[in-house]
Symmetry: C2
Subunit: 127 residues, 2 copies
């Protein structure tokens, strides 16, 4: 077994959180990137509550639109994502997190990244 | 003046384009990453028409939600984005493009990336 990656919570600054704009469903899109390889792993959504949890816990906590519930990434799969840095964009309506990805990868298909299919090559399997 | 980057269109495969899922507004989120530095530059939206234009022209063509029009990135600012690779995710509802960024950067503030503010540091200017 490899060691659990270090957990590095990020200071919660209310003036920053107050800037973030959510869509009509109360969600903000989040791009998640591997802090070492710089590969973009996935895009998902957070609400105000799970953004706060993500910063406080130092682990990526999304909001699942399909299940309509808090999605603490990796609690089921073991493929947790440990936060290294978080950013918000110029319009305050998109987030970017650099993470240490635990386990096999970010994608439920078993691929490291959810973006494993390339335009111009035709569709194919994950592996 | 630096030379214009090479333009590399991507083959349009109808079976790939047919996979892509658009939201209720007919849009799909697009993550744009610098192909060399691997820095995530921005997140924006495309519709089916501008995705097709992006592949055909080898330049990033978004759909502006605020202006409700086709947004051929850089036509006004000069900061064009030349496509190197494009990917679609496991759910077929998010795109990732690796680009060569021309000019000063991707952000209208003058920053290289729109994600220039970091959680835990308080808000500050772009530069």
């Amino acid at each position: 077994m490899s060691q659990t990656p270090a957990v590095t919570p990020i200071a919660i600054l209310e003036q920053e959180l107050a800037l973030i704009k959510y869509n009509a469903d109360g969600l903000v899109p989040v791009v998640t990137q591997d802090a070492k390889s710089m590969q973009v792993l996935m895009m998902a959504w957070m609400n105000a509550e799970t953004l706060r949890m993500t910063l406080a816990e130092g682990r990526m906590v999304y909001y699942s639109r399909s299940r309509q519930e808090i999605w603490r990434k990796g609690d089921t799969s073991g493929d947790r994502q440990f936060v290294r840095e978080g950013f918000y964009d110029c319009d305050n309506d998109t987030l970017l997190f650099l993470v240490e990805q635990e386990g096999n990868g970010a994608c439920h298909t078993g691929a490291v990244s959810c973006f494993y299919r390339k335009f111009g090559e035709g569709s194919h399997d994950a592996h």
